[in-house]
């Protein structure tokens, strides 16, 4: 009865401790197994990506791209005379898991970590990388504050990325809508449950206004919505000549389909979240005509490097590489460039070298790392034409 309460606590905490140790032993055994590889002059590369959870498809594709790059590099003799050894782990699309995985990867003596994909998950991983002074290269984290410490405004020394940032995409589409499509009245219908959708919308609004356009309405939807007709009907009543829909393809595809069904024929634009074959299969060829999105690269690009990459990727995985695959590929290539510049497989030296990279030729464009560790690179506008992605314009910042 009550007398026992305190001792119960004591016993419990002992048990807790024992269990923790048991769990610990299990992990330890695993570690030694992996470390056996170290002896053969390997450079361990952590790949901490979303293989399950909300954005599993992004993580999977980025991982495939990264593994392709590693395979190619190893085949051509490796870096600094050593082979790259990928250590792949799943962060389940959550920030705390990303953090835990990073800590586990640190234990595997990695020289750098690729991933995670979303800005939130990168933020979870960031402190561990900073504490341990190991560079993190984010393939697709586009939030503006990923590489910068929010409080001090200082650049995070060990955090890098190969993608352009949200403000850039929003600005790009606003320019395109105003200049190329001659839009005057735009409606924004954004995924407001993600920072991505909100960020793009914010910068679109800003630039579109500066270009003399008017935002006649701002609406939002949330992740996993499937029925958009109520809001679309409302938007139809606003008579816009352009609709900006920054969001991910799972929602955007049915959204566009429903918009066309309701008789909305004006051009619709979005961001790199649209890049998926599901866009065409869900919305249909016809509905997608007259829609545009900003992207990192186009697999239709005739640039010889891109063509080579697309062929290799198709041969290995039997699927079209999307932007995430290309970014994953570029993240590894950027790291390799850094290792070559640093002339050592040392994380701290690698970070210093990465910060200085100029005019690196990636699949997703020529990039230079700026003082905020963002790549300065071009973006493309892709148009859907009868179900095919066609590159419309390449815009240099």
């Amino acid at each position: 009865m009550k007398k026992n309460s305190r001792k119960k606590i004591a016993v419990l905490i002992i048990m807790a401790f024992m269990l923790a140790i048991v769990a610990g032993c299990g992990g330890e055994a695993k570690d030694t197994g992996d470390k056996a590889g170290d002896k053969a002059e390997m450079i361990n590369v952590g790949i901490n990506v979303e293989l399950s959870g909300g954005v599993a498809s992004y993580g999977t594709n980025a991982k495939d791209g990264a593994l392709l790059a590693i395979e190619q590099i190893n085949a051509s003799g490796g870096v600094l005379g050593m082979q790259l050894n990928p250590v792949v782990k799943d962060c389940k699309s959550t920030a705390d898991e990303a953090m835990s995985i990073s800590a586990a990867l640190v234990g595997e003596n990695i020289v750098a970590q690729i991933g995670p994909l979303t800005s939130g998950d990168v933020a979870g991983s960031t402190p561990i990388m900073m504490d341990n002074k190991i560079p993190l290269i984010a393939p697709a984290a586009t939030a503006s504050n990923v590489t910068v410490d929010d409080k001090t405004g200082k650049t995070n020394e060990y955090i890098f990325r190969v993608c352009f940032i949200d403000p850039f995409q929003g600005t790009l589409m606003a320019q395109f809508a105003a200049d190329n499509l001659k839009a005057k009245n735009a409606v924004i219908y954004a995924d407001t449950s993600t920072d991505y959708g909100k960020g793009l919308a914010e910068y679109f609004k800003k630039t579109f206004g500066e270009k003399g356009g008017t935002i006649v309405g701002e609406e939002g939807y949330v992740k996993d919505d499937r029925d958009f007709r109520a809001t679309l009907t409302k938007i139809k009543g606003m008579n816009p000549d352009f609709i900006y829909v920054p969001g991910y393809y799972q929602e955007v595809a049915p959204l566009i389909k429903q918009a066309r069904e309701l008789g909305i024929t004006v051009p619709i634009g979005g961001g790199d979240g649209w890049d998926s074959p599901d866009m065409v299969s869900v919305a249909g060829n016809e509905a997608l005509n007259n829609t545009y999105f900003t992207n990192h690269y186009s697999s239709q690009d005739t640039d010889p490097n891109i063509v080579k990459f697309v062929e290799a990727y198709k041969a290995k995985y039997n699927k079209e590489p999307d932007a995430f695959a290309a970014l994953g590929y570029d993240a590894i290539q950027l790291m390799v460039q850094g290792l070559k510049d640093a002339q050592a497989a040392d994380p701290v030296k690698l970070a210093a070298a990465l910060a200085k990279i100029k005019d690196f030729e990636g699949i997703t464009g020529k990039m230079s790392i700026d003082e905020k560790h963002n790549p300065v690179k071009a973006g493309v506008i892709i148009e859907f034409k009868d179900g095919a992605q066609v590159m419309n314009t390449r815009i240099q910042p």
């Binding site: 606590i9 419990l12 905490i13 269990l19 769990a23 640190v106 960031t126």
Partner: protein
């Protein structure tokens, strides 16, 4: 005589706890326990707080709540607002987190606890989701993006203190007349009411204390994992906690603790197989409910006597 032996036991407990605390602290300072294990240790402590506090509501009071993650969110956000935006020390953040979550529990508990059984479950589920959606729409806390770069303040002493505090509060409460009143609500609400127990009051009391401790866990979480966003606290998180409580045994604090440790370890082991983890969760829920609806421990507690016997008849 009795008082004396009670005092001796108390001293032993304090000694054991202190020894445990110092031992782990020693491992951390010497680096024997690296970052990865520290993270799992933190998860364990936070999950213990969550499971023990939810067990107070679901196990001891018998009111099925599916919105525990909502209170955790309230605590996490309240503490972060205090420490990061208003520059208060961590302890202030913790206190505010507890108070805010308790207040949330009160506001939600008073109207909804009139509902019974599965209606209450659905209502709490809905309210937990409303908390999440509301946080998503508050720009002050960055909406869906959440708050990044929270200063790490949750260290082992804090984790240890919060866990011991939680277990002490719940165990002491349950083994008092107030606790018996709470349990009687679970056993038979009508009879309890007719024996002069203000069942509404005790249901709300348990709910508020449970919410408060969940808020504490939220604050611990926020200041350990650097980042919070509304999505972290969706109803899947509530179900995670529920699984621990059900597995350990509805109405067994020791059960909740063991289950929290087990599930955390299981999650770590199955890091690379999330689908399997969830299938296991599902099977655990179904099988435990069919064969042992009262959970592994039932409403029994693991006591020192049992350990004494295992260790060779030492009483």
């Amino acid at each position: 005589m009795q008082i004396k032996s009670k005092f001796i036991r108390f001293c032993i407990d304090v000694l054991v706890l202190t020894a445990l605390f110092i031992l782990v602290q020693y491992f951390i300072t010497t680096g024997l326990l690296d970052q990865y294990y520290q993270i799992n240790l933190a998860s364990m402590c936070i999950n213990i707080i969550l499971a023990v506090s939810l067990n107070l509501i679901n196990g001891f009071t018998g009111q099925l709540s599916l919105g525990h993650a909502g209170f955790m969110a309230v605590g996490a956000y309240a503490s972060v607002v205090m420490t990061q935006m208003l520059g208060q020390p961590f302890i202030v953040g913790l206190i505010v987190a507890c108070l805010a979550a308790a207040l949330g529990g009160f506001i939600i508990g008073v109207p909804t606890l009139r509902l019974r059984g599965d209606y209450l479950a659905i209502a709490t589920l809905a309210l937990g989701e409303i908390i999440r959606v509301t946080l998503q729409n508050i720009d002050y806390v960055n909406g869906p993006a959440g708050i990044l770069g929270i200063t790490k303040m949750t260290t082992w002493p804090w984790l240890f203190g919060a866990t011991v505090f939680t277990v002490l509060v719940v165990v002491n409460l349950i083994n008092s007349s107030y606790g018996r009143a709470i349990i009687s609500v679970r056993e038979d609400e009508v009879a309890s009411e007719l024996m002069g127990i203000n069942t509404t009051k005790y249901k709300v009391m348990a709910f508020v204390i449970g919410a408060m401790l969940a808020g504490l866990a939220g604050a611990m979480y926020a200041h350990f994992f650097y980042i919070i966003k509304p999505d972290t606290f969706n109803f899947m998180k509530s179900f995670d906690i529920l699984v621990m409580v059900v597995l350990g045994g509805l109405g067994s604090t020791t059960g909740a603790i063991i289950a929290a440790l087990f599930i955390t370890a299981l999650t770590a082991v199955l890091q690379s197989f999330p689908a399997i983890r969830m299938i296991l969760y599902a099977l655990i829920l179904i099988i435990v409910m069919i064969y042992r609806p009262q959970g592994l421990m039932g409403n029994k507690e693991l006591s020192r006597q049992i350990f004494g016997r295992i260790w060779g008849g030492r009483k």
